[in-house]
């Protein structure tokens, strides 16, 4: 029985154990099933991903291949020996081959039209070695033998270890662009030629206009010296005035056309900047004396050396700005300021100011005034005149020299034009000199010049008449050659003291003629001074004249005095004497001498300007003198100081040295408040009597002018 019980228990245990085992097995089976399912899905996803990637890769490749083919880029793969491994469709189309034809060919031999290509191909190994890119433009030969321009960018092909195994060249057909470039260059050249022609036309025109103008102005000079009725004199004055205005306008237009053609010329020569500016101050003080304006100068003593620059252009800039200031100012002050900004690399950078107490410029018009033919207001032209060219020229000149110009202004308060200009520092200290005593020189010269024998070479009949008239007045002997060829013939036979030579002449121009004379050892005039006469004031032309052997040049139209001075200098007939002001400042004797040569010299022979100045003097001086008397009577010393200060430059302008000194003495004494009244009284009396003596003399001079 016990055994049965044990067996029962064993069976029971084994049943439980089996169930437990079955449960575990099934559970494990399910786990396995799950794992298997997961693996299957994972596998499927992996396959899907791989397929997806392959499709994407193919699409991307197709996209780039399509892109490259559509971009008209030709790709070419070569090995290290230039053997073509693969030619892409684009490259094949570019060169007229099929890809199959190119495969296996040597690229160097197939496409090489010339050396430059071969050279590039020889460089390829370097590119490969350096593992870098390069781009070049070369010509290659197509299948049909024609040449095309391609832009090649080559990059090395490397194996997995980075060793070069060949190169990939990307070619872009730039033949069209090259053709366009060439056409563009041609078009540019044509345009430049056209512009040059236009420039030449302007120069020629200005010459053509100047030549007859020269005759017109010259003839009026001569006409003025004849016996004329008052009415005729008036007409001639008007003629002169119009002629001068017209010349001014032509000069401005010529300057402007030079500026526009980028041919503005600046001379470089030594000059005394202080002298130039103080001359301008005196001249404009004189000019505005009929108005209640004083012209002041504030010159920085730091600018102590002679400068190197273009005095004519500098003068032109100042004259323009001062002209404007005096035109638009009725009373108050016009000031000139020169201030050294910095001294650097042997250059003075100087800031100049021209300020006035005139009508001013409205804020919105400030930009306008520097533009061609523009004035702040259309009414300005009617009321004040002018062409609107002046400031444009000034601005261009200043900027051409690397400077700048600006304006500050308030309506009815005044304007301040500031400009900065560089000058070369010569290193030579400037000495302030008084003008040459022209009168004595002129007397001496006239005597010497009257012995001269002169050859005039001039094709224009009017000019011939003008110059010969001047020479007749000077009592010179002269011959006339109508052109260069004639001049050459005459000069071979006769010896002259001087030749006056026009530059522009038909057949043989002045430069050629001069060159022929200078190089002919048998010509007796080989070393005789030649003065060029030119209407075109181009620096280049003047340089050409000097290079050909001319000694100097004179710009038409010119005044007889300027010509005389030139001749005097060239023939060494005068020695220029200069005296410092201090030497004469002690002289107080009431001598009366009047000398208009200072004004003539200053204005480069502008007699109209001189006349204007003299008339102003005659009109303004009595008023100033009565003011002076009144102030003295009422012991208003400040007023006495002011009037004498104003009068001083006026005497100086007319060469009235003694009166200038007396005015200076009054000025000095009243300023320092160290005087006795009788002394001043005497000085005023002396000045007054001298002035009264001067008026008729001046009037007489004007008549004979």
């Amino acid at each position: 029985m016990k055994e049965v019980e044990i067996l029962k228990r064993r069976l029971h245990r084994e049943q439980i154990a089996r169930k437990e085992a079955e449960r575990i097995v099934e559970q494990k089976g399910l786990e396995l099933y799950d794992v298997n399912e997961k693996l299957l899905r994972l596998n499927e996803r992996l396959e899907q991903n791989v397929t997806q990637r392959s499709i994407e890769l193919r699409r991307s490749e197709e996209k780039y291949r399509g892109l490259i083919e559509n971009m008209a880029l030709g790709l070419l793969e070569t090995d290290l020996h230039h053997t073509i491994i693969r030619a892409y469709q684009g490259f094949a189309e570019m060169t007229g081959y099929t890809p199959e034809e190119l495969k296996g060919q040597n690229a160097k031999q197939v496409f090489s039209p010339n050396d430059s290509f071969t050279q590039l191909m020889n460089l390829t190994p370097d590119i490969q070695k350096n593992i870098s890119n390069s781009t070049s433009e070369v010509q290659i030969k197509k299948k049909d033998g024609s040449l095309i321009w391609v832009l090649i960018s080559a990059a090395p092909i490397v194996d997995k270890d980075g060793n070069p195994i060949g190169s990939l060249g990307i070619h872009y057909d730039i033949t069209e662009r090259k053709i366009l470039e060439r056409e563009l260059a041609k078009a540019k050249e044509t345009a430049e030629q056209a512009q040059q022609a236009e420039q030449q036309f302007l120069v020629n025109m200005s010459h053509e206009i100047r030549t007859p103008m020269n005759a017109v102005i010259g003839m009026t000079h001569l006409l003025q010296d004849t016996d004329l009725t008052t009415l005729q004199k008036e007409y001639i004055d008007a003629l002169r005035f119009s002629g001068d205005s017209l010349m001014g306008l032509i000069n401005n237009i010529l300057d402007l056309s030079k500026i526009e053609a980028g041919e503005l010329e600046f001379e470089e020569k030594e000059f005394n900047l202080y002298q130039l500016v103080s001359n301008l101050q005196r001249a404009f003080q004189f000019k505005v004396n009929r108005k209640e304006i004083s012209v002041t100068l504030d010159f920085d003593p730091e600018i102590e050396n002679i400068v190197i620059g273009d005095p004519t252009r500098t003068n032109q800039i100042f004259t323009n700005l001062l002209g404007n200031a005096s035109k638009f100012t009725t009373h108050g002050t016009i000031g000139i300021v020169a201030k050294l900004l910095q001294k650097r690399n042997g250059q003075y950078w100087i800031e100049f100011q021209i300020h006035d107490t005139g009508i001013g410029i409205p804020e919105d018009k400030k930009e306008l005034i520097f533009m061609n033919f523009k004035q702040a207001d259309a009414q300005i032209a009617r009321k004040y005149g002018g062409t609107g060219l002046g400031l444009t020229i000034v601005k261009e000149m200043v900027e051409f020299k690397g400077g700048m110009i600006s304006v500050e202004s308030h309506v009815n308060q005044g304007s301040n034009f500031k400009f900065i200009l560089p000058f070369i520092d010569s290193g030579i200290k400037a000495v302030h000199k008084t003008p040459i005593h022209h009168k004595q020189i002129t007397q001496e010269l006239k005597e010497k010049i009257s012995h001269l024998e002169v050859l005039i070479v001039e094709d224009n009949e009017m000019n011939q008449k003008l110059i010969s008239k001047i020479l007749e007045i000077w009592k010179c002997r002269y011959d006339i050659a109508n052109n260069g060829r004639e001049a050459l013939e005459i000069s071979k036979q006769l010896q002259y003291d001087l030749i006056l030579m026009d530059i522009h002449m038909p057949e043989m121009d002045g430069v050629e003629t001069t060159y022929a004379i200078r190089t002919d050892n048998n010509n007796p005039n080989q070393r005789i001074p030649i003065i060029a006469m030119t209407a075109a004031a181009l620096l280049e032309e003047k340089n050409k004249a000097i290079a050909a052997g001319m000694n100097d040049f004179i710009t038409k139209p010119f005044s007889p005095n300027v010509l005389m001075k030139k001749i005097g200098n060239i023939l060494g007939l005068v020695t220029q004497k200069t005296e410092s002001m201090d030497n004469e400042s002690s002289s107080t004797s009431n001598n009366l001498s009047i000398d208009l040569d200072y004004l003539l010299d200053f204005s480069d022979g502008d007699r109209n300007f001189v006349k204007d100045m003299v008339n102003t003097f005659i009109k303004e001086t009595p008023i100033s003198l009565s003011n002076l008397h009144e102030a003295f009577k009422e012991k208003k010393w400040e007023m006495v100081y002011k009037v004498s200060h104003q009068m001083k430059p006026n005497f100086m302008m007319l060469g009235m040295k003694c009166q200038e000194n007396m005015a200076a003495q009054i000025e000095k004494m009243t300023k320092e408040q160290d005087f006795n009244e009788s002394e001043i009284c005497t000085l005023i009396e002396q000045i007054t009597s001298a002035a009264h003596q001067a008026y008729p003399i001046l009037k007489e001079k004007l008549q004979a002018f």
Partner: protein, 178 residues
Amino acid sequence: MKGVVFTEFLEMVEASHGYEMVDDLINESDLSSEGAYTSVGTYDHHEIIALFSTLSKKTTTPIPILFRNFGKYIFDVFARKYTFFFSNSDNAFDFLESVESYIHVEVRKLYPDAELPRFETKRVGNTTLEMMYYSNRSMSDFAMGLIEKVLEYYNEDANVERIYLTDNGSQVQFIISK
């Protein structure tokens, strides 16, 4: 503890003492599983201790000797069932080294919940292998029987010295020297 240990133990008892002894052990050992073991199951290791204690009392044989004998017995079962574990080694030292580095790794893959002892082996010269035993079950006798059987399996003659590093027998050093 894996069910195979229980089923093999009871088989051994049945073979030497008959099923009546097995029945007695189960009845007298107060087992929560009630002695219904399957080799693929997992059971509380206290049950094996209880079964060994009961067997020790009934046969008046010390527990360490029973464990050692059981180790020898189960080696044959393993050698029969898992021959592929033996094909990688051609000597006892190589095989003993592979217990931790290979066999236990594979066992854990099959039975992630298996609680196995940890061995560290170190060769000292060509003839000696030091083998550290770590286990909270403190069944180094069982291991001793297995080691002896391994030597026998590879026909190698070696002296197995055992040094207890802790009082409770959880860390033991075997020095196997030929």
